[in-house]
């Protein structure tokens, strides 16, 4: 196999005082190939978002400390990259979609302006920027994109805002899209739409997607592989179908059982029994 697109080795990130640190990420290793989809699953505070942000060193340091490990993107060591090259990496090679689309867009600028900024930052060769913006909005399923250019974020619904975020991320044609809980702030029907859109993108482009979620329900028909994170470590990783069918770790089993199933009579939702895991 050729060199992977992204390789993370023994990554360790800590917060707080050095003598009594909070180990947000504690020895995480994984790799992603071009075009592959990886789902990182875990509950709040398990270190999945911190891992995702660390991929382009987006965590400000301080307060965060990158204590160990290596992040290699196309052979380049992200943790030692100078700031100017890092900015070339962000957005251009690795793009992000965040959890809250409403507050991830700048409230005082039109969406057209914000997508234009992304294109002008990374693709100075584009001649007709407006046409490019319209086509990027069209690709994420926004109807009549030309009319939406001058809209402000607050004039759009949450689902539309997330589509704009995705359009913005895609506008620079990144090799890796990191979707950090892209559907958590949306209601269920919009969740479905956004996931369908991501699936469509996965099918039509050769972009690797890293989906971060706490919901095993989203993972099943989306990701090629799954990594389960618990307290800063990857406790289990493998092909999606394999893990769903035969979870090895107690925490993975607990997470899968948390998702209520249709047609199953259950009075109370299962909660994770931490004592049983440790």
């Amino acid at each position: 196999m050729s060199t992977p697109l992204l390789r993370v080795e023994n990554l360790g990130i800590q917060f707080g005082p050095p003598d009594d640190p909070v180990k947000a990420v504690d020895g995480v290793s994984f790799a992603m190939n071009a075009g592959e989809t990886l789902a990182v699953v875990g509950e709040s505070g398990s270190g999945k978002s911190v891992t995702a942000l660390a991929l382009t060193r987006l965590l400000a340091s301080p307060p965060a400390r990158y204590v160990s490990g290596k992040i290699e993107f196309e052979g380049r060591d992200v943790l030692r990259l100078p700031d100017s090259e890092l900015r070339g990496l962000r957005g251009k090679q690795i793009a992000y979609i965040f959890q809250e689309p409403g507050s991830s867009l700048n409230p005082v600028f039109t969406i057209g302006y914000q997508i234009r900024e992304a294109i002008e930052l990374h693709r100075p060769e584009v001649r007709d920027v407006t046409a490019e913006i319209i086509s990027s909005l069209d690709r994420v399923g926004i109807r009549e994109p030309a009319k939406r250019l001058d809209d402000y974020p607050h004039q759009l619904s949450g689902g539309m805002q997330q589509r704009v975020m995705i359009a913005m991320a895609l506008a620079c044609q990144p090799k890796l899209l990191v979707a950090d809980e892209p559907t958590t702030a949306l209601d269920v029907t919009i969740q479905k739409q956004i996931m369908d859109l991501l699936k469509e993108l996965k099918r039509t482009s050769n972009m690797a997607i890293m989906l971060i979620t706490h919901n095993f329900g989203l993972v099943a028909d989306f990701a090629d592989r799954v990594a389960v994170m618990f307290r800063g470590r990857i406790v289990e990783a493998g092909a999606t179908a394999e893990i769903l069918r035969n979870p090895q770790h107690a925490y993975t089993r607990a997470l899968i059982e948390c998702v209520p199933k249709l047609g199953q009579k259950q009075h109370r939702l299962k909660v994770i029994d931490y004592a049983g895991i440790e």
Binding site: T56, L58, P62, D83, R87, G88, L89, R90, G91, K92, A95, Y96, F98, Q99, E100, S103, S104, L105, N106, P107, V108, F109, E117, A118, L121, H122, D150, D151, Y152, Q155, M165, M168, A169, C172
Partner: protein, 382 residues
């Protein structure tokens, strides 16, 4: 308040404008300020001992123009030029290179002419000179010219009276408006620059920089501002220079603004959008200037408006204490301080400059309050 209904697609600036204009105090305050600026700009044509046009012995002369300072020439030439460029902007941009070169050449020519010519200091006045026709300014006295009638109460000849050396108060107030308004404006711009820069950096980078800036602000705030200004002024040799006074007022009154901007930046940068911009590859500078600053602009503008008012007040107090603009340059505080000794019989010496200061400060405060209400979304439901 009768605010017109929201009209779907309007920009943030349009919304602020609509709410601002719906407030009659703010609207009229803004009008007063604009009127004051026009009066200040045209002061040499409103109060001058030289005639605007004089016809004598069959010759037509314009005695007012040789006495104008270079800054007045610049104003007279550049403001109409800027207006012309603004109105012809479509045609202007059709051949931008040619037109810009033409403009630069024109400006260079004007500057060269201004540099080699000096204003004529002509102490004579045209009031009593015989002429077949003359057009005098509405107030035919210069602000620094002494006349024989001292302590003249307000009359048709001297609408605001005269002072102890017979100088016309109306002329001094008209010319003093330039000093007071420009000091207020420039001093606050300096404060804005320092305050926004330091506050913005502290709020964005936090950590040691934030601690340093905050302690510095606290140390600055420990000193009575007037004392600080007096010490700073005494450090400068030339007290007559308006720019020193502007700089001193500006450099001692930025702390409140810095605090405000720091708070705004702390609030804004804890929201996800600055990080989203960073994730797109924006540099720190870009995040600060293009993403955070526009979001904090409303409160900054409000605070700056109040700041202009307080800078005018500080300048007046300085002149009143005798530390501001030195004679003969007129300023409102200076006229007021002359009134101190004669207040028991010459009420007009204190009344008119006081009224001018009051009107200006009040207008600025009305504008500031109107702006504050207009940018605050919570106060809008009325």
């Amino acid at each position: 308040m009768n605010i017109p209904h929201e009209t779907g697609n309007e920009t943030y600036a349009q919304r602020i404008r609509r709410h601002f204009m719906a407030d009659s105090f703010a609207r009229n305050g803004l009008r007063v300020i604009i009127a004051l600026f026009i009066v200040a700009a045209l002061a040499p044509f409103l109060a001058n001992s030289h005639a605007i046009v004089r016809v004598a012995d069959g010759r037509v002369t314009f005695p007012i123009f040789p006495s104008l300072e270079p800054i007045e020439w610049r104003f007279l030439l550049y403001v109409p030029m800027a207006a012309l460029v603004y109105f012809l902007r479509a045609g202007f941009l059709r051949r931008p290179k040619f037109h810009f070169l033409f403009l630069i050449a024109l400006i260079a020519l004007i500057e060269v002419v201004l540099a080699v010519t000096h204003p004529v200091n002509d102490p004579t006045n045209d009031r009593n000179r015989a002429a077949s026709f003359k057009l005098m300014p509405p107030i035919p006295y210069s602000p620094i010219e002494s006349t024989p009638d001292q302590f003249s109460p307000p009359s048709w000849k001297h609408p605001c009276g005269t002072d102890s050396t017979g100088r016309d108060i109306a002329a001094r107030l008209l010319h003093g408006a330039r000093t007071s308004l420009s000091i207020g404006f420039v001093a606050q711009s300096i404060a804005l620059l320092v305050g926004v820069t330091l506050g913005g950096l502290a709020g964005y980078y936090r950590g040691w920089l934030d601690i340093g800036v905050c302690r510095f602000i606290e140390i600055m705030d420990c000193f009575p501002p007037l004392l600080l200004i007096l010490v700073a002024i005494s450090l400068f040799e030339s007290q007559n220079n308006m720019f020193y006074i502007m700089a001193v007022i500006g450099l001692t009154s930025w702390t409140g603004l810095a605090r405000l901007v720091r708070g705004e930046f702390l609030r804004l940068s804890s929201q996800p959008f600055p990080q989203a911009a960073q994730a797109l590859g924006a540099s720190d500078f870009r995040v600060i200037v293009r993403h955070l600053l526009p979001n904090a602009l409303g409160p900054i503008l409000v605070s700056a408006t109040f700041g202009v008012a307080s800078a005018i007040l500080i300048e007046s107090s300085l002149s009143f204490l005798g530390f501001g603009m030195q004679a003969p340059t007129p300023s409102w505080g200076d006229v007021l301080s002359d009134a101190r000794r004669y207040i028991d019989f010459a009420w007009w010496l204190a009344f008119f400059p006081g009224l001018a200061i009051l009107m200006t400060i009040m207008s600025y405060n009305f504008v500031g309050e109107g702006l504050r209400d207009a940018v605050d979304p919570r106060l809008k439901v009325k």
